[in-house]
């Protein structure tokens, strides 16, 4: 039950220290240099704050030998271009969304931390390896448009890769299957602010995106680009969406499944504009004629299921919600269309929940994968393919693969690592604020 605060309120007490090379001529080179510096310093655990011989910090290398880091006792360079005395940067990827192409035996995951897409063989990873797996491809760099990415999709027919930026960048980018490195996307689509999940529907040739603040999902044509508008949206009070994240388009049963965190503001407070401009736009549009009594509330986390052709303010066909369901901060959702099951990455309690596809109400999951042996830590993405369940961990440098029928406190069949075993994650996800706890001498960072 620790995951929620670890995800959203990271208390930084152990700091990895790196030194940033100075004088880099460009932002791009600086990013690469910073990442390399972080990788080189990785494993150094700060033993702040007590100093020896004038230095303010020391580190412990991987071999256990304490070594001094040359941290100055003050840094007051003129002009303010001074190096940090400490820096917390995780040099490794952090998995977020996950999708499997069963036909090509590929798996793709988004990486929020280093801002990349990683593609592996579907059978990569092992139950015992402690080393990071080598991706077949990594798409990363300033030309890619990949930033604070979340949802992912693969289209094996048109051989296209999709990912959507959840914050700041407000765009979905599309790459060819064989793209790698710092490449420009073959297509770019500007999307509503806080789009999170992608649900690709190949038969319809459309993709649905969940959007957090307006409590909606929007449907675009697969080939939509630039400023193309969605062909329809599902939004409004009847939908019961509340801070939607995971989304899956089940074309077999013509349904769309959405995972909702439960943060809710009524529609009167929302415009179609980005959150950052909502109020300005709303005032301009309404002349201050807004409902003062319309405010927010918390509702229980839920899984809501809609007709695949739904449009506008429509009620869900079914809702899984309540204490018996155990749904708690659902991130990714997936449907096993063959075996009629809904699979949920239940971030709130570090579990995977499996429901009958037709479940409705406060019902118990058929199976729950949960416990210390599972290695599930901050699950974000989930996918079902070839009788396996994939789980992308955000709280650990791993993705986990379980047999489809796994349940209880069981070890995964395979572990795919993006860092050597034992490397902790910073937990950062686009940090925008900070506070200092003077009592505990801790830095508080919300995501």
């Amino acid at each position: 039950m620790r995951r929620r605060v670890l995800l959203t309120l990271a208390t930084v007490v152990g700091l990895s220290i790196v030194t940033i090379p100075s004088g880099a001529p460009s932002l791009e080179e600086m990013f690469v240099a910073t990442t390399q510096a972080a990788e080189e310093a990785e494993g150094a655990l700060c033993l702040m704050p007590e100093a020896n011989d004038g230095a303010r910090g020391s580190s412990r290398a991987d071999d256990g030998q304490a070594t001094q880091i040359a941290i100055p006792t003050r840094s007051d360079a003129e002009g303010g271009d001074l190096p940090p005395v400490r820096m917390v940067v995780d040099p490794y990827p952090s998995f977020n969304g996950v999708v499997v192409d069963s036909a090509s035996d590929l798996v793709m995951m988004s990486d929020t931390n280093r801002k990349s897409l990683l593609i592996y063989d579907r059978t990569a990873g092992s139950a015992t390896s402690k080393q990071a797996a080598n991706p077949k491809q990594q798409i990363m760099g300033p030309d890619t448009g990949v930033g604070f990415v979340a949802g992912v999709a693969m289209d094996p027919v048109h051989r296209e890769l999709f990912t959507v930026n959840n914050d700041v960048e407000d765009r979905l980018v599309v790459f060819d299957y064989d793209a790698r490195g710092n490449v420009a996307p073959k297509r770019l689509l500007y999307v509503p602010h806080q789009s999170w999940g992608i649900a690709f529907a190949p038969k319809r040739d459309v993709m649905a995106l969940s959007v957090q603040t307006p409590n909606m999902y929007v449907v675009f044509k697969r080939e939509a680009k630039k400023f193309d508008a969605p062909i329809r949206s599902v939004r409004g009070p009847k939908t019961a969406m509340a801070d939607p994240h995971g989304i899956y388009f089940d074309e077999t049963h013509n349904e769309v499944v959405v995972g909702n965190h439960g943060n809710f503001r009524p529609g009167e407070l929302i415009t179609s504009y980005t959150a950052y401009d909502a109020r300005e736009s709303r005032q301009e549009r309404t002349g201050d004629a807004f409902d003062e009594s319309a405010r927010g509330r918390f509702v229980p986390s839920s899984i809501t299921i809609y007709d695949g052709d739904a449009s506008g303010d429509v009620a869900p066909l079914r809702t899984i919600q309540g204490p018996t369901s155990q749904v708690d901060w659902p991130m990714g959702v997936a449907v096993d269309e063959v075996n009629n099951e809904i699979v949920v990455a239940n971030n709130g309690d570090n579990s995977i929940l499996v429901f009958p596809r037709t479940a409705n109400g406060d019902v118990q999951p058929k199976r729950a994968i949960r416990g210390a042996l599972t290695g599930i830590k901050g699950p974000m993405g989930v996918a079902v393919a070839k009788d396996e369940i994939w789980v992308a961990n955000f709280g650990d440098h791993t993705a986990l693969v379980f047999p489809r029928l796994a349940g209880g406190n069981v070890a995964p069949r395979r572990i795919l690592r993006n860092a050597p075993a034992g490397k902790e994650t910073s937990g950062f996800g686009n940090p925008y604020a900070v506070a200092y706890d003077t009592k505990r001498r801790e830095v508080l960072v919300p995501n």
Binding site: M1, I20, D76, P84, M87, H261, N263, R295, V434, D437
Partner: protein, 279 residues
């Protein structure tokens, strides 16, 4: 159970009462935790409801001397002030709102109980809108003009976010992010009015370089440069969105979303005589 959201753009630590205060803009709430909270722990108090006036709280500050919580809410372009121990659907003690206030996208707030100054960071794309720091009286209320405004080209501010304030020195620490967000998104006609061939800012090159700027909450007014700043290639920060400080050790701390990291700088000269390393 925590009632936090994945979108939390503000946070404050109340050292007197050992509490953590955080806004939840997606549920129009402010949640208060005990200082040692960990895991999936429920808040000890929650502000939420029609009487609170909260619509999209972005930023919070605690006045430990006067036992008040300040909330910056761009949803209704206002500042709301509550009793520190307010809970539930509580009415604010005071509200600052209206055209004279120049409050627009309120993204940072800090209070100086010694000099009775309230500082708000705000930005806007609206014609005539202010992007900068607004200084009000701590107990101001209603549609009041700020007493001072720090904004303009000499300030270096083109966009800013969280601010911190050290009551011991009266120094304001501002995260001047200086990036560019995208124009508003209209679901029926995205990017209305834009050239269809325009390339909008990329996440890797979103504008001018940001910095941490330091101003004085009583002495500075108008288009004035920061008295001190942290900026440049050596710093590692590009678009800092947050800032705080550890006065005891003379440190300024800033997260940077470009690197998804946290940076600590030693600036003891900015703090009082008790800071380690100060001379």
């Amino acid at each position: 159970m925590t009632h936090l959201s994945r979108t939390t753009h503000g946070i404050a630590y109340d050292s007197t009462n050992d509490e953590i205060v955080a806004p939840n803009p997606l549920a129009a709430a402010v949640v208060i935790f005990r200082g040692g909270a960990t895991g999936e722990e429920a808040p000890i108090r929650t502000l939420q409801g029609a009487r609170t006036g909260l619509s999209r709280p972005e930023t919070v500050a605690v006045d430990e001397k006067n036992n008040e919580i300040f909330v910056g809410d761009p949803g209704d372009r206002r500042v709301l002030v509550y009793k520190r121990d307010a809970d539930g659907d509580a009415k604010p003690l005071r509200t600052i709102q209206g055209p004279k206030t120049k409050l627009l996208q309120v993204v940072g707030i800090a209070v100086d109980p010694i000099r009775d100054v309230l500082v708000v960071s705000t930005y806007s794309r609206l014609p005539g809108g202010v992007t900068g720091l607004l200084m009000f009286g701590r107990t101001d209320e209603g549609d009041v003009a700020p007493k001072r405004v720090i904004a303009g080209p000499k300030s270096g501010i083109t966009r800013l976010r969280q601010i911190g304030l050290d009551p011991e020195t009266g120094k304001i620490y501002a995260a001047v992010i200086n990036n560019e967000y995208l124009p508003p998104y209209d679901i029926d006609k995205p990017r209305r009015g834009l050239d269809p061939n325009v390339d909008l800012p990329s996440p890797w090159n979103t504008g001018s370089e940001g910095f941490i700027g330091v101003w004085d909450d009583e002495k500075d007014d108008g288009d004035v440069p920061p008295r001190s700043l942290i900026k440049g290639r050596s710093t590692g920060i590009v678009h800092p969105a947050g800032v705080t400080f550890n006065a005891r050790d003379g440190e300024v701390i800033a997260p940077d979303a470009v690197w998804n990291g946290l940076f600590t700088f030693l600036k003891p000269e900015l703090f009082g005589r008790n800071a380690k390393g100060s001379q």
